[in-house]
C-alpha cells in the first residue's frame, strides 16, 4: 500500500540570466495504491521537474511531497525512476545493468532467477552480454525499464520511457508496462507527450499547462481494460483530452 501526496508544491528555478522561473506552481495531487497516473502536457511545462520532486532527486522551494506520510528528502530504491534519456551504465553489460540495483541492495546473493525472468520478459534474451551501445534504442529502453521494475518499487516513475522509440516498439513497450503494472500492482506515474499513450495506460490523466507549470485538470479514465485504441469510446475520450490541451486552437509554436 502506498499513498503519494503532493501539497502546494512550487518549484522556482533561475535561468542563465538569473531570471526567476516558476517552473511549477501550486501543484496538488494525491495518488493512491495501484493507480496508474499519466501526466501529459507540452514540452517544458515541468513534467520532468515534477517527477524529480516525487523521486527526491530535487526538493521543492515550498510545499511538500510525502509518501505514506513520510517527507521525501532523497531518492530511494522504493521509488523507481526510468529516465527520459534512458541512462543505462555504458560500462556494464545489459545483464549487469539490469541487476545493478539488486546487487546494490542485496549484495552478492541477489536473485539471479529474477534477472533471467526480466531478461526474458523484456525480450533481451541473447543480449545479456552486450553493452548498451551495441543494442538498439528500444532494447536499451526496455533494459532501463527492467532495471527499475526488478527492484519491485512501491512507486515507479516513468519519464517518457518510450519517447525515443518508433511506433511498433513503442506499442510493445507499452504492453510490457501495462502487464507489469497489472501483475505487480505497482503504483506508476508516467510522463508523456503522447495522448494515446496516456489514455491507453492511465487510470487517471493529469493535464498540465506551461509557464508557469500548473495542473489544469485531473481526468479519470472511463475506459476499462483491455483497451482498444481504435474503439469509439477511446477516440471520444481522446478528443476530450485533446480539447483540454487546446490543441488545434493554439498554434504549436506558442505552446512550446
Amino acid at each position: 500500500m502506498v499513498q503519494l501526496t503532493i501539497q502546494n508544491v512550487n518549484r522556482i528555478l533561475h535561468d542563465n540570466n538569473g531570471e526567476r522561473i516558476n517552473v511549477l506552481e501550486d501543484i496538488n495531487l494525491s495518488v493512491g495504491s495501484g493507480e496508474f497516473i499519466s501526466i501529459i502536457g507540452p514540452s517544458g511545462c515541468g513534467k520532468t521537474t515534477l517527477l524529480r520532486l516525487i523521486s527526491g532527486l530535487d526538493q521543492p522551494e515550498t510545499g511538500k511531497v510525502t509518501v505514506d506520510d513520510q517527507l521525501v528528502t532523497r531518492p530511494d530504491a522504493s521509488r523507481g525512476y526510468v529516465f527520459q534519456h534512458g541512462s543505462l551504465f555504458p560500462w556494464e553489460t545489459i545483464r549487469d545493468n539490469i541487476s545493478a540495483g539488486l546487487k546494490a541492495v542485496h549484495g552478492r546473493h541477489y536473485d539471479r532467477n529474477l534477472v533471467a525472468h526480466y531478461i526474458e520478459l523484456m525480450g533481451l534474451k541473447g543480449f545479456e552480454k552486450a553493452y548498451p551501445h551495441q543494442v538498439s534504442g528500444g532494447m536499451a529502453q526496455r533494459a532501463a525499464l527492467a532495471r527499475s521494475i526488478i527492484m519491485n518499487p512501491e512507486l515507479l516513475l516513468l519519464d517518457e520511457p518510450m519517447g525515443a522509440l518508433d511506433a511498433f516498439t513503442r506499442a510493445d513497450v507499452q504492453d510490457v508496462i501495462h502487464r507489469v503494472w497489472k501483475q505487480t500492482q505497482t503504483t506508476m506515474v508516467l510522463v508523456t507527450h503522447d495522448i494515446d499513450e496516456a489514455i491507453y495506460l492511465g487510470t487517471r490523466i493529469v493535464v498540465m499547462t506551461p509557464r508557469p507549470g500548473r495542473i489544469k485538470e485531473v481526468v479519470t479514465n472511463p475506459l476499462t481494460f483491455p483497451r482498444d485504441r481504435t474503439s469509439d469510446q477511446f477516440l471520444e475520450f481522446r478528443r476530450a483530452i485533446q480539447d483540454k490541451l487546446n490543441f488545434g486552437k493554439k498554434p504549436i509554436s506558442e505552446t512550446i
Binding site: 523521486s55 532527486l57 532523497r74 531518492p75 530511494d76 530504491a77 521509488r79 523507481g80 525512476y81 529516465f83 534519456h85 541512462s87 551504465f89 555504458p90 560500462w91 556494464e92 553489460t93 545493478a100 540495483g101 546494490a104 541492495v105 523484456m122 525480450g123 541473447g126 543480449f127 552486450a130 553493452y131 548498451p132 551501445h133 551495441q134 543494442v135 538498439s136 528500444g138 532494447m139 526496455r142 532495471r147 527499475s148 527492484m151 511498433f168 516498439t169 510493445d172 510490457v176
Partner: protein
C-alpha cells in the same frame, strides 16, 4: 515476442571483429611486396657476408638475426599466401615496412662497418650492437630485470596515489577545495628537481628512485582523473541513487568506471615521464639497471654499450607500452570503438 528485427541488428558478431582487424591492417596483400621484402632481407645478409669490412667486427650475432628475420618473414608470408585469415592481413600490411627495413639494414651496414663513412666510436653498426648485447648478455639481462622491477613498483605506487587522489578530488568538492592548490603547486615541479634532496633524505637510493619515478607519475594521473570524474554525466549518479546505491557503491560502480577513459589518458602521459625518470635516476643513484649501465659505459668510453642499452630499452619500453595498450583495450571494451 518483441521486435525481432532490432534484436539482431546491432549485436557484435564475429564479422564485426573481422572488420576491426581489417581496419587495423588495411594495406592489401601484394605478392610483389612480400617477395621484395624477402629479397631485401636476404640481400642484407649477402651484403654483410660479401662486402669487405673496414672495421673489426664479429658478425655472428647479426647474421643470426638476419637469418631469423628471413625465416620469420618466410613463414608469415607462406601462411599468408595460402590462408585467408588474420595472418594474411597482417603480412600483407607490413610487407612494405619489412622491405624498407631490409634496405635500411643494408644502408647502415655499408655506411658504418663496410665503408667507415660514419665512424667509431660514436657510430656503430647494428652488427656491433648485437655482438655487444651477446657479449654482455648476463649483465644486460640483470640490468633489464632490475630496471623493470624498479619501474613497475614506482609506476604502480604513483598511479595508485594519482587515481585515489583524483577520484576523491573529483568527487568531493570540499576535499578538492583544500587539496587542489597543493596539487597544482607540487605537481607542476619536475620530479628531477627533487633529485639532490631525495638522495639525502631517503635512507636508501632505491627508495629515492621509487619516489622520483612515482612523483613523475602521480600528477598527470591525478589531474586527468579529476577531469574524468567531473565529466561523468549526472544522469549516471542520479540513476545510481534511485537504484539505492550507497556512496561506496557509487564510487565503485559509477565514479571509477566513468573516469576510467581519462585515467588511461593520464597513465599514458605518465608512462613517458616515468621512463625518463627511470633512466635519469638510475644514472645518478643506482648500481644496477639500464640507466646505470649506460652511465658506466659512458665512463669507460664504450659507446657500443650505450647503443646496446638503448636497443634493449626500445624493446622493453615498447613491450610495456603494448601491454598497457592491451590493458586499456580490455578495460574500456564497453566503449564504442572510435576507429574509422
Amino acid at each position: 515476442m518483441l521486435d525481432a528485427v532490432t534484436l539482431s541488428k546491432k549485436h557484435r558478431s564475429p564479422a564485426a571483429k573481422k572488420d576491426e582487424v581489417q581496419t587495423k591492417y588495411w594495406k592489401p596483400w601484394r605478392l610483389t611486396w612480400n617477395v621484395l621484402s624477402l629479397v631485401t632481407v636476404a640481400a642484407a645478409y649477402f651484403e654483410n657476408v660479401t662486402v669487405h669490412s673496414q672495421e673489426l667486427v664479429n658478425n655472428g650475432a647479426y647474421k643470426g638475426f638476419l637469418a631469423a628475420y628471413f625465416g620469420y618473414l618466410l613463414i608469415v608470408y607462406g601462411i599468408g599466401s595460402v590462408t585467408k585469415g588474420k595472418i594474411r592481413l597482417y603480412s600483407g600490411h607490413f610487407a612494405q615496412l619489412n622491405a624498407l627495413l631490409g634496405v635500411v639494414l643494408i644502408g647502415q651496414d655499408l655506411l658504418t662497418e663496410k665503408f667507415a663513412m660514419i665512424k667509431l666510436p660514436f657510430f656503430v653498426s647494428f652488427a656491433q650492437i648485437l655482438d655487444q648485447i651477446k657479449t654482455d648478455q648476463k649483465l644486460l639481462i640483470a640490468s633489464t630485470w632490475s630496471s623493470l622491477g624498479l619501474w613497475l613498483v614506482s609506476f604502480i605506487v604513483g598511479t595508485l596515489i594519482g587515481v585515489v587522489l583524483g577520484l576523491y578530488m573529483g568527487r568531493y568538492r570540499q576535499f578538492n577545495y583544500w587539496s587542489f592548490p597543493f596539487l597544482k603547486v607540487i605537481g607542476i615541479i619536475p620530479a628531477a628537481a627533487w633529485m639532490p634532496l631525495t638522495m639525502v633524505i631517503f635512507p636508501t637510493s632505491y627508495l629515492a628512485e621509487i619516489f622520483l619515478i612515482a612523483f613523475a607519475v602521480w600528477f598527470p594521473v591525478a589531474f586527468m582523473t579529476i577531469g574524468g570524474v567531473q565529466s561523468i554525466s549526472s544522469d549516471y549518479f542520479e540513476s545510481a541513487r534511485t537504484l539505492g546505491f550507497s556512496e561506496f557503491q557509487i564510487m565503485r560502480k559509477v565514479v571509477i568506471p566513468g573516469a576510467l577513459p581519462n585515467i588511461f589518458i593520464g597513465i599514458f602521459t605518465a608512462m613517458g615521464l616515468s621512463f625518463t625518470m627511470l633512466v635519469i635516476s638510475e644514472m645518478i643513484g643506482a648500481k644496477v639497471g639500464l640507466g646505470w649501465y649506460i652511465n658506466w659505459a659512458k665512463g669507460v668510453g664504450n659507446y657500443t654499450q650505450v647503443y646496446a642499452a638503448i636497443v634493449i630499452m626500445a624493446i622493453l619500453f615498447s613491450v610495456i607500452f603494448s601491454f598497457l595498450n592491451k590493458l586499456q583495450e580490455y578495460a574500456l571494451r564497453w566503449r564504442k570503438s572510435s576507429k574509422v
